[in-house]
Amino acid sequence: MARLRTRSHRVVLNRSQGGDVGIFILLALLGVMMFLPMFYVIAQSLKPLDEIFMFPPKFYVVSPTLENFTDLFSLMNESWVPFSRYIFNTIFVSLTGTFGNLFVSSLAAYSLAKIKFPGRKWIFQLIVYSLMFHETVTAIANFITMSALGLIDTLWARIVPALATSLGLYLMKQFMESHVSDQILESARLDGCSELKTFWLIAMPMVKPGWLTLIVETFKNLWNAGSSIYIHSEQYKSFNYAIQQIVSGGIARSGAGAAATVIMMIVPIIIFIICQSNIIETMGTSGMKD
């Protein structure tokens, strides 16, 4: 009979002490390696000028200051197109694209996972194949398609392709299949609920972890987008692009550059933190299976 012991609230089985320690050390080492570069960015962004140019450079900051951030904001004010324009572009594209994708992909995922219609296997197979290649492979051909559709040099060139991502559809379909029971949908249909209403009011709340993952994933892609071959007018370019232009001014701006990197990375990280607590919470409570 195996040795059983409890840790926190659940039963943990067959765990040797040595293995626990070994795994902990390995995880700690990997964690430190992952974290150090991130730590260095933050340290750089808080260093005053003399510490940035100090030799040998220190890994940590001695007297932290927000100088680099104020420098960055004054550099922003000098830009040719008002900086609020770049910020608007990125926020508009990220939000429209993310929520559009959430709706379009979930709708399609629901239909694929929960309605048995002819051709659904064929369609899903096509989606799985499309996960197997990187979108940059099609970028050049896409340029031609977009010019034909008149999307070049508009914000829609970024938004429309992001509305239907195969990754989003795949994720949502998997979640719908495992988290939404057919009986509940069937009874909703018998009660006269339309398919669209069943999807929105019954299936969607049950796959919260799925759409939170989808939001994190889509948002980070759109938020982090830099320059694009589809957009050449200055007033349609992204925040990320503008910030890179500012900080490419050489070593003198490396403090402002680190500040900009911190601002850029903090938004997706916050969104992930918000979603993560929800994901864990939902995963703990949505133990419904048929």
Binding site: V12, L13, I23, L26, K116, H134, A141, M264
Partner: protein, 315 residues
């Protein structure tokens, strides 16, 4: 990836031909088609059509100004027989993929597995530490500062102080170091969606399966991993593999950002960089479509092979 099992139908379909029956089912489920229509429209225009267009263009010379001219296999012949840099890029891409693909996959799987043993509060912090580099956009540019060749580079300064080297190493301008550094950065940013999928998969496994297995004589965590955890995670394992392989073959933007385009003596030049070079800078649309098609075939091909291999896990 497993398909949903076909439900048994109560409908009698003996008195109809297959086409008739399909048509009837299609009409009955017209809402399903309406629901999937927006997705399929965008997907067709921006994913399927560009793939087909790339294949067609790969047989032509086209510069976006004049009409495309059909040249049959000329582009492919030029690519494999006349373009030394492509062969170099092919070699580099394979090295990148063979190292970063499996290593990043195992890393994601094992870290997710370790994290799953922690208590929920610690787990969310640790998850964030591992996941953050991949969602933080261009944060990897910090590697350029860390490995900077002038006296502001922390790595050079430390090595000089310790007496290991006497003059700074030009990390991103030295053929010896560009590839290993790019591989390190690739691994650093590799714990992305696949990693999250693994964590979700691990959390979804029913605890009672482990308890039952312990009774059946599973002796340690490694046996538990191989006989219970991995087989239960089948769909996530497959999904993760597809994402990591695709990412490994699509590697190139990081090289451009860290080492420039082209990198010194093409030492870290990948097929993706070659594509950027011909498509984005030289506007040789026909030729770059050929490069895109070759890369496409490599990505899909290796994914299909891995899919075969992964179906053997836990057997």
């Amino acid at each position: 990836m497993p398909e949903a099992k076909e439900a048994k139908r109560p409908v009698a379909r003996k008195d109809m031909t297959k086409a008739q029956w399909t048509w009837k089912e299609m009409k009955r489920n017209k809402t399903a088609y309406l629901m999937i229509a927006p997705f399929m429209l965008v997907f067709t225009i921006f994913t399927i059509f560009p793939v087909l267009l790339s294949i067609i263009l790969s047989f032509t010379t086209f510069n976006m100004l004049e009409m495309p001219k059909f040249v049959f296999m000329d582009n492919y012949i030029r690519l494999f027989l006349d373009d030394d840099i492509f062969i170099l890029a092919l070699k580099n891409t394979l090295i990148f993929a063979v190292i970063t693909g499996p290593v990043s996959y195992m890393l994601a799987l094992f870290v997710a597995w370790f994290i799953n043993e922690l208590n929920p509060k610690v787990r969310s912090v640790v998850t964030l530490i591992f996941y953050a580099p991949s969602i933080s956009g261009q944060v990897y540019l910090i590697w350029k500062t860390l490995f900077s060749s002038d006296s502001y580079g922390w790595v050079n300064a430390t090595l000089i102080k310790l007496g290991i080297i006497y003059k700074p190493i030009l990390w991103f301008e030295d053929e010896k170091y560009t590839m290993p550094l790019c591989i390190a950065v690739a691994l650093w940013t590799s714990l992305g969606t696949a990693f999250l999928a693994f964590i979700a998969g691990l959390q979804g496994i029913d605890r009672s399966h482990y308890e039952a297995a312990a009774v059946d004589g599973i002796k340690n965590r490694w046996q538990e991993l191989w006989y219970i955890t991995l087989p239960e995670m089948g769909p996530q394992l497959m999904f993760g593999a597809v994402l990591q392989i695709t990412k490994a073959f699509g590697f190139g933007q990081v090289v451009t950002d860290l080492c420039g385009l082209p990198s010194v003596n093409y030492s870290a030049h990948t097929i993706m960089n070659h594509l950027q070079d011909y498509g984005g800078q030289r506007y040789e649309v026909g030729y770059s479509s050929t490069i895109a098609v070759v890369l496409f075939v490599m990505m899909v091909g290796s994914n299909l092979i891995i899919k075969k291999l992964l179906s053997k896990v836990g057997k």
